[in-house]
């Protein structure tokens, strides 16, 4: 089972590296969008500092969502997805492999860039580790839930926009626990409950999202 998971993970990562401009574009969006906020809400360090965690998390959400079409769209268009569903390997495992590759290609770079945004938005010092830990625990769920959205919109008109409408409401719990974790840390409270909730969402997504996405893919390749 893990052989199949690693095979598709290796292939998708290879594709991501070979087409790394896609990743660079998403990261560019992440940074540029963050840079807009000081123009929007004013450069005052206190206001920026207070809303910095929210900005970073919301932009992380949007960045992950923007790159979701890389999950299945290309394979669906060139017929590879059809053949992938025809391999004896169980489809949910393959979806898990693709979601993992998507997370490594999108989630990790976001986590790496988050401190840079923190500095730009004057995030308080104590918040950095919690922001990073929260993103590390939250972005995999975003990729998994996003995989369901990407699979559901295969073949739909304007799949990108439609995916935003489907996926963003489902991202709200991850956003809330991620941001409140940082606020709690800054205010000196314990962040344990927040991370437990994020972990619970991740486990649930790991278990359920591949099944839902696999069912949607089987319908799309029919």
């Amino acid at each position: 089972m893990t052989g199949v998971f690693l095979t598709i993970l290796k292939r998708d990562l290879l594709l991501t590296i070979r087409q790394s401009t896609d990743v660079a574009l998403v990261m560019a969006f992440f940074v540029v969008a963050a840079a807009l906020f000081p123009f929007g809400v004013g450069p005052g360090p206190e206001t920026l500092g207070r809303i910095a965690p929210g900005i970073v998390w919301v932009l992380a959400l949007l960045a992950v969502m923007l790159s979701l079409d890389r999950l299945f769209q290309q394979d669906w268009e060139d017929g590879a997805l059809e053949l992938i569903t025809l391999t004896p390997a169980p489809l949910p495992i393959l979806v898990l492999g693709k979601a993992a590759a998507h997370w490594i290609g999108t989630g990790l770079p976001l986590i790496a860039l988050a401190p840079l945004l923190g500095i730009m938005l004057n995030l308080t010092e104590t918040a950095y580790p919690i922001l990073i830990a929260g993103l590390a625990l939250g972005t995999p769920s975003l990729s998994l839930i996003g995989a369901v959205g990407a699979a559901l919109t295969l073949g739909a008109r304007r799949a990108g926009l439609l995916m935003a409408l489907l996926v963003l409401p489902l991202y709200i719990p991850v956003l809330i626990f991620g941001v409140t974790a940082v606020d709690a840390a800054v205010a000196g409270f314990s962040v344990r409950p927040h991370f437990l909730y994020l972990g619970a969402i991740l486990l649930a997504s790991l278990a359920l999202a591949p099944l839902a996405a696999a069912a949607a893919i089987r319908n799309a390749v029919e």
Binding site: D78, E82, I84, V221
Partner: protein, 213 residues
């Protein structure tokens, strides 16, 4: 004792009935050529046989047991070559074939597949710069890598030059000799000695005429 049988297969795609009450029984070594006008359901039948489409009615069975009982086992028996070559432009030919080998075929068959279709020279070129004929040969090379009993080929000879077409015919003959089953939908006649014929026009939903070979 026939191996792959279809009883009263009916297929509806997007509310449109494509074929109805189609029966066939293929034993080891059989080749069957699907003919019929465009839109008669050749590709749909191949996709039903591959398990991509759920037949609206009727059943498909392997050695008597319906394939619905164990879909994964059925997928391990079938190699499907559709219209699209499913090549990733960023991967080289070898990497592409290695992926399919690792996913559901025999990992050490990649070199044999490359030789089978004279692709050894192109092994390390990215699929992006291949000609359509070369892409078709890479797609067909996957049959060797997966080496599964049932081959479902949808217009396999499109874009192939004479030499490649003959190579494909030899491959099919060898596969049948080993007891494999080949179902091919083609307009261009390919040499399939004593192959059965299945004219999809006989199974248009409106008309009911007799049993297929």
């Amino acid at each position: 004792m026939s191996e792959l049988t279809g009883q009263d297969l009916t297929c509806i795609r997007g509310e449109r009935p494509v074929f109805a009450r189609l029966n066939f029984a293929w034993t080891a070594g059989t080749a069957c050529q699907l003919t019929g006008p465009n839109g008669a359901g050749k590709s749909s039948l191949l996709r039903v046989l591959a398990g991509l489409i759920q037949p609206a009615a009727g059943s498909l069975s392997w050695h008597g047991t319906p394939i619905d009982e164990d879909r994964e086992a059925h997928r391990a028996r079938v190699s499907y070559c559709g219209h699209q070559e499913a090549l990733k432009s960023a991967l080289t030919v070898r990497e592409g074939l290695q992926f399919w080998a690792d996913l559901g075929g025999l990992p050490n068959r990649v070199d044999a597949a490359l030789e089978g279709f004279e692709l050894t020279g192109l092994a390390d070129t990215p699929a992006r710069i291949l000609s359509s004929g070369q892409k078709r040969r890479v797609a067909l090379a996957r049959l060797i890598v997966e080496s599964r009993p049932i081959w479902l080929l949808d217009e396999p000879t499109v874009g192939l030059d004479k030499a490649s077409q003959e190579r494909l015919e030899h491959l099919i003959a060898a596969h049948r000799a080993e007891g494999g089953i080949v179902a091919a939908a083609t307009h261009v006649p390919i040499a399939l000695p004593d192959a059965k014929n299945l004219d999809m026009a006989d199974f248009a939903p409106g008309r009911l005429r007799g049993q297929a070979a």
